[in-house]
Amino acid sequence: MTAAPLHFSGHSLHLDPAGALVWPAAETLVVADLHLEKGSAAARAGQLVPPWDSRHTLERLALLLRRYQPRTVIALGDSFHDDGGPARLAAADRSRLAALTERADFVWVQGNHDPAPPEGVAGLATPEWQHLGIIFRHMAVAKCAAEISGHFHPKARVATRAGEVVRACFVADSRKILLPAFGAYTGGLDVRAPAIAAHFPRGGRVFLLGESRLFSFPLGQVQPT
């Protein structure tokens, strides 16, 4: 796994190919849109998809905690797919999550899917979080600088010699970073969609997630060449 270095607002950050952001100086790991219990939400709607999505997501998060040993973990909202999510969490997954919150301080930024703080989960619930001049929130705010957010589940299409490749990605310029969704069942929104593009009027870069590294392209290049 090779993380890509990124200088942002005077700080040195790293983007991990697993879809997380690492801030070494602040000993902080940032993830977005875990959407825990999306599987059971689908089941409730009559689609009995495999029930291991929370487990899958938490195991991947545990790996990152082992690798980076952060003091703080910031979850950028939509950590649960809906307000009923915490109650539906299976006992085993509940202990998986508890084990994680014992190893680091969790900041649960509130999202639009889970506006209330997660019940029975350790950590701090807050509408947004600020640290050393960087602001962390669920959904990007127009013209706000030094902001790291999630919400959009960005993905990018790259035209290659042998057809199009579509991957989840980070989007970044000097003022904003959007994180890809970390949850096992989270889909994506094309970075060319106006909702995302509007936040990057002067362009930016996308970093597509790969097996062991990221692939970086100018935002303007992520379309047919």
């Binding site: 009559g46 029930p51 035209a159 199009e164 062991s212 590294r213």
Partner: protein, 828 residues
């Protein structure tokens, strides 16, 4: 006397100058004996009337309490509508007291309701609509009086998922109406027994077969210029095709892909000096446009129509004078079906012209002509029924009425595709429908079925039943966008795949529905465009399974190549090509496998003349590449055509025998296949059909309550946590069949083991030229391949943008250990 035609009918026949055909009487006789029947007849044999005749006779007198007497099921909605219209003629002329109605997805709600309360005597429908009717609570009442079920074009249904669905419905009908007879109507097929079993549905069925009176007259037509080395479009023959159209009454020009249809249509219109009415017909065009073309064709207003398999089936048009097939015929059965679309009078031969697009296709056309002359049909016998289809069916049956698992298992096994279904598979499928069937983690709260104290299965509630009915069907489309001309009254032209639309930028032009269009924008699920534009237009391509060269035809081509005596009938250019090959290398033969190895422009090329079809060759190419990598030959890429596989590498491949060893289909295959885009696509289809995720209903995505889960992500999670889940088993089953053609690969490896002929050459051989020209076409991909592509593109873009590439030098593949560790730990 039973089994003979009443006077009313003989008079009607006589008034038309007709007399009943022997097979029509035979069917009448079978009806009197209560027998199930499979009628195999060439097109134009009065097959449909034969199927209906016994019902018309039985219904000639008013019945005291009318019930649904005859159910007709056709694979095409349009066919059901046309047949209903055609049946009206005898019914009206003989003043028969018979009510005929159709029931398809287009039937308005009020008529559906009336059909349930007061069913017609004859109902014409499709497998999907039948499935829906059987899922209703009043299905037992509606079908109780059923006397006959007629299944049309059964050869096109058996062996497909729609065919599996229909077979299950037939088994259910047999339970609801035990005395009802089944009548199957089929074109000539290679395998009769599976169709007889299909019609029998657990009971015997009688075969009635009529031979074609006059064999078809088929000739080959070559382009006026030289015969191309490669390419599949056949556009060089457009002027020759145009001359044939001008010289004849009405022509159907069959092609193999929708893109080819668009291109050839444009090419013909460039040459259409007299502006003859020539139309276009393919499966992604708007239904309304297609219906208009079909209607114009039926009225005899068209001189020609360029069509894909969208016109393989359908109503007899009578007036078609010739069929022209442009491009590879692929198989004799399919060719016969297409040829049969011309001249629907039984005593006169059908006429067809084959137009090969390249040299290999000249051989293939010749092989097809010989195959037809020898009456050798091809096609694989239908395989076992899909477990995903069974899952859908079980939920729908529970929606109709509670059932006991043992009885349902027995009923399902009466359906021919499920005759060998194991109890374990049945129980696993039922378990999946019930609560997801996940090990150690059931969705008890969200179960769709529950069991009462006697073990009877019930559906969870009306909401579950409604959801099941919303998701009926076994055809799963790739994500599609509507194509519409911009403007308030912009005409809808049809649909293209999302990936094609995504590759267009404003101002780009493309060919579609026979027009030159300019891309404007994508708005939600619609691609908006305007007429006209400049530049070289793109042509939409469609994924989906393309038909592969059949085993029989491939064997004929190999035999012909190896027998110079037979070359005399080929064009001189082709003969010369083969003579050069013979002199320089050797010709592939009916036995063994020929492999050529030669250097070219700093690379090594390996060409295997496998002749097992494109699907099998793609799998073979991937497996060989992996093995070459392990042997240190540094493969760089491969290309698969219908006839050969070509691989290029940095180092010379030495040990060819090791490459083609019989263990090639071992563990490598599973590992590779599990990662491919092909398996993910297969899983998506299985997941939708089995009801794991909801079918995508255009327009319904606005519903905020709907949770959409990407099936690729589900696949990843399921594979990791329960690799033997019944849906993954169903996925593997599908993938091993059509898409990878593993059985054909096995045959190939056996041939290679028996006699492997390796030719090391100084340069490219004549026979290898076409495959080199085909390099650059798409192939099957895995995430690792995609990473390599991204890496390459990243470097390329960085180079073009004249800024330093982010760290990495250009490399062929990325391995986990290549990258240096980030650091030990953030926290010291």
């Amino acid at each position: 006397m039973p089994g003979t035609l009443p006077e009313l009918f003989t008079t009607w026949f006589a008034a038309r100058g007709w007399s009943p055909r022997p097979h029509q009487l035979a069917l009448l006789h079978a009806a009197a004996n209560g027998e199930n029947v499979l009628l195999i007849a060439p097109t134009g044999g009065g097959k449909t009337l034969a199927g209906f005749l016994p019902s018309l006779v039985a219904l000639a007198h008013p019945r005291p309490a009318p019930t649904l007497h005859t159910l007709y099921v056709s694979p095409l909605k349009a066919l059901a509508t046309d047949i209903a219209r055609n049946l009206m003629a005898p019914v009206q002329q003989m003043r028969l007291p018979i009510r005929i109605e159709t029931r398809t997805g287009d039937t308005p709600a009020d008529r559906r309701k009336r059909q349930r309360e007061n069913p017609p005597d004859l109902l014409l429908t499709t497998p999907e609509s039948l499935s829906l009717l059987l899922s209703l609570e009043d299905a037992p009442r509606m079908f109780a009086g059923l006397a006959t079920v007629i299944i049309d074009e059964i050869h096109a249904l058996a062996g497909t998922k729609r065919g599996d669905q229909l077979a299950l419905c037939l088994a259910r009908l047999a339970a609801l109406a035990p005395t009802a007879r089944r009548v199957g109507l089929s074109a000539t097929v290679a395998h009769r027994k599976p169709l007889l079993d299909y019609i029998g549905s657990g009971a015997p069925a009688r075969l009635i077969e009529i031979e074609e009176a006059a064999p078809p007259e088929i000739e080959m037509m070559l382009p006026e210029a030289h015969i191309a080395w490669a390419g599949r479009m056949g556009l060089a023959s457009a002027s020759a095709v145009m001359k044939r159209i001008v010289a004849s009454g009405t022509t159907i020009v069959f092609v193999n892909t929708r893109a080819q249809a668009e291109l050839l249509f444009q090419e013909l219109w460039k040459l259409n000096a007299d502006t003859l009415p020539i139309a276009l017909h393919h499966g992604s065009l708007e239904l309304e446009l297609r219906r208009r073309v079909e209607a114009a064709m039926a009225r005899g207003e068209l001189r020609a129509v360029v069509a894909t398999s969208s016109l393989d089936l359908g109503i007899d048009w009578g007036g078609v004078d010739q069929v022209i097939q442009v491009g590879a015929p692929k198989g004799t059965s399919r060719l016969l079906q297409r040829v049969g679309r011309s001249n629907h009078r039984m005593d006169e031969p059908s006429r067809a012209v084959l137009v090969p697009a390249n040299r290999f296709e000249v051989l293939e056309c010749k092989a097809a002509m010989l195959g037809i002359a020898a009456r050798e049909l091809d096609g694989d016998p239908p395989g076992p029924g899909g477990l995903d289809v069974l899952a859908q069916h079980l939920l729908l049956m529970a929606a109709s009425a509670p059932f006991m698992p043992d009885e349902m298992f027995a009923e399902v096994r009466r359906a021919a595709p499920y005759a060998e279904l194991s109890r374990t598979d049945f129980d696993d499928v039922l378990g999946f429908v019930e609560n997801g069937g996940y090990a150690l983690a059931h969705y008890e709260r969200y179960r769709k079925l529950f069991r009462d104290s006697e073990g009877r299965i019930h559906i969870a509630g009306v909401r579950t039943a409604r959801q099941a009915r919303m998701n009926i069907g076994t055809i799963v489309e790739a994500p599609l966008l509507k194509v519409r001309l911009a403007g308030r009254r912009g005409q809808q032209l049809g649909e293209v795949e999302e990936s094609f639309a995504n590759a267009l930028r404003e101002g780009d032009t493309f060919m579609y529905a026979g027009r030159l269009l300019r891309f404007l924008r994508i708005r939600e699920t619609t691609l908006e465009c305007a007429e006209g534009g400049t530049g070289s237009p793109a042509v939409p391509a469609y994924a989906g399974t393309r038909m592969s060269l059949t085993t029989n035809l491939a064997a004929r081509v190999r035999a012909m190549l190896h027998d110079p005596v037979s070359w005399g009938t080929y064009p001189e250019e082709v003969q010369e090509w083969l003579r050069l090959q013979q002199a320089y290398s050797e010709l592939p033969g009916p036995e063994g496998l020929l492999v050529e190895v030669f250097p070219r422009e700093g690379r090594w090329y390996l060409v295997a003349y496998a002749f097992e079809g494109r699907n099998a060759h793609q799998t073979l190419g991937m497996l060989l590449t992996r093995r070459m990598e392990r042997l240190g030959y540094a493969p760089l890429g491969f290309v698969a055509t219908e006839y050969v596989v070509g691989i290029w590498s940095a180092n010379e491949p030495h040990n060819i025998a090791a490459l083609f060893d019989h263990d090639l289909l071992g563990e490598d295959l599973e590992i590779w296949m599990a990662e491919t885009s092909m398996l993910r696509r297969t899983f998506r289809n299985v997941a939708v059909i089995a009801g794991l995720v909801d079918r995508h209903h255009p327009g319904a995505e606005k519903n905020r309550r709907q949770v959409t889960v990407n099936t690729d992500l589900v696949y990843n999670v399921l594979r990791r946590h329960q690799p033997d889940h019944v849906l993954l088993r169903a996925t593997w089953h599908d993938a091993r069949g059509g898409l990878t053609d593993l059985a054909r690969l096995q045959l190939l490896l056996n041939r290679a083991a028996a006699r492997l002929s390796v030719r090391r050459l100084d340069r490219v051989s004549p026979l290898a030229v076409p495959v080199l020209l085909d390099i650059g076409r798409e192939s099957v991909r895995t995430p690792a391949d995609e990473d390599a592509l991204l890496l390459e593109t990243e470097a390329l873009v960085a180079e073009v943008m004249a800024q330093p590439a982010p760290r990495t030098p250009r490399r062929r593949t990325v391995r986990k250990n290549d990258a240096p560790p980030l650091r030990k730990s953030v926290r010291a």
